[in-house]
């Protein structure tokens, strides 16, 4: 009975994958609004940051992943409704604001850098599909006045989940959770918080 159930699930999955494989998918990806991660960044006395400005440095800028047919071939693009650099910029700004700081046009500290990775993937196993979201960026915290770098580092957010099946809603959620993890990576970085504290104290 259990085997019959599994075979039915596999057959349903097999039928589902090619059925929608040729239509491009556009995902509205953003971090979950409810995600609030506190960390050492909160302990840096309130700072006015300039809005994050990132350059899209991904090798493949045309898509964030591939739809695949039943034989594992790439058939259609998965893209985002908003440019990827803007999604990551807003995510970093959310991490800053959630930590008690402000983001304004004339901030004392600028955050510049690159989006290095923004990728969605699916790995089809025997009975489940692993959905994987992966986001990485390089951030440089720069003194707006002197234009000198205060702290530079790579940050990443990754999330994966095993499910029997899943379509665009699941994919969007997986990428959103990867962005949530990116926020966590920024917020919990005590080296960055220490560097900002030292910079503020020296001013």
């Amino acid at each position: 009975m259990k085997t019959l159930y599994k075979l039915t699930a596999l057959a349903a999955l097999a039928a589902l994958l090619p059925g929608c494989a040729f239509t491009p998918a556009q995902l509205d990806v953003k971090p979950h609004a409810a995600t609030q991660v506190a960390g050492p960044l909160k302990d840096v006395g309130p700072v006015k940051f300039s809005a994050t400005q990132l350059e899209d440095a991904r090798p493949d800028k045309a898509r964030i992943g591939w739809k695949k047919n039943g034989f594992g071939q790439n058939t259609a693009d998965i893209t985002t409704s908003q440019p990827v650099d803007q999604i990551v910029e807003s995510t970093i700004d959310k991490a800053i604001v959630d930590s008690g700081h402000t983001v304004a046009g004339d901030g004392a500290i600028q955050i510049v850098g690159t989006v290095d990775r923004f990728w969605f993937d699916m790995d089809v196993n025997f009975w489940t599909v692993t959905f994987i979201g992966d986001v990485a960026c390089t951030l440089d915290f720069v003194d707006a006045q002197t234009k000198q770098s205060i702290y530079k580092s790579k940050y990443a957010g990754s999330y994966s989940v095993d499910k029997a099946a899943g379509l665009e809603k699941t994919w969007t959620d997986v990428m959103a959770k990867a962005l949530d993890k990116l926020i966590e990576d920024v917020t919990l970085d005590e080296d960055m918080a220490d560097a900002l504290k030292a910079h503020i104290a020296a001013k």
């Binding site: 991660v37 699916m122 790995d123 790579k154 919990l188």
Partner: protein
Amino acid sequence: MRRPLLSLRAWATAAAMLLLASASVAQDAPRRIAIQIEGKAEFDVIYRRALTNATGAVLGGLIGAGIQAGIESNEDSEKRDAIQPHVVQQAWREFFIQTMTDSLAEKGLETVWIDAGTEPKAGTADMYMVLYPSKFGFRIVDTTSLMMASFVEFEAAYSTKPISGKSKSAKEPFYITDKSQVSYDQLIADPSGISPRIESVLKMAARRLTNKVFYNIK
């Protein structure tokens, strides 16, 4: 009329000083965190498995999928065998657990270790955490450039109340990769870089977990 030994003002001052003193003692007393570790961290190298998936094979037949998965796993195990001898034995305990304990102590938290399988009673500590180690090692982090990084993967459940069997479902996944990337060939050509990369990611993950628990526990 006889005067009391101490005036009302003196009594009030003494009471206030006593209150302040007890508050200060309470602040100075280290808070305790009860930590339980369930499972063991396994060393792994994920190379071929990060590059391909079994989609075609699954739909082409379960036997095909099995063969493909077997080939990928075999290729990765060869790479694991080449890298693992250069990794410090007990790396997880030496770097992750030690750094976590030190970081907690820096934040004024005293660690109380709970044996796996036992459930701590209320009042044992002020915070409770169950750690579920999974994997650490090296994996492809960029499928385009084939660059690898050291990584660590684990889950944790934490709360201000003892974590019982029922609440253990609220596990939070952690997947952390090191900031520096390297190709497999570079890694093998200079094995002296293997252990420092593992140490770096395990220490970073331990500090991140400490901060996550310290700042976000409810």
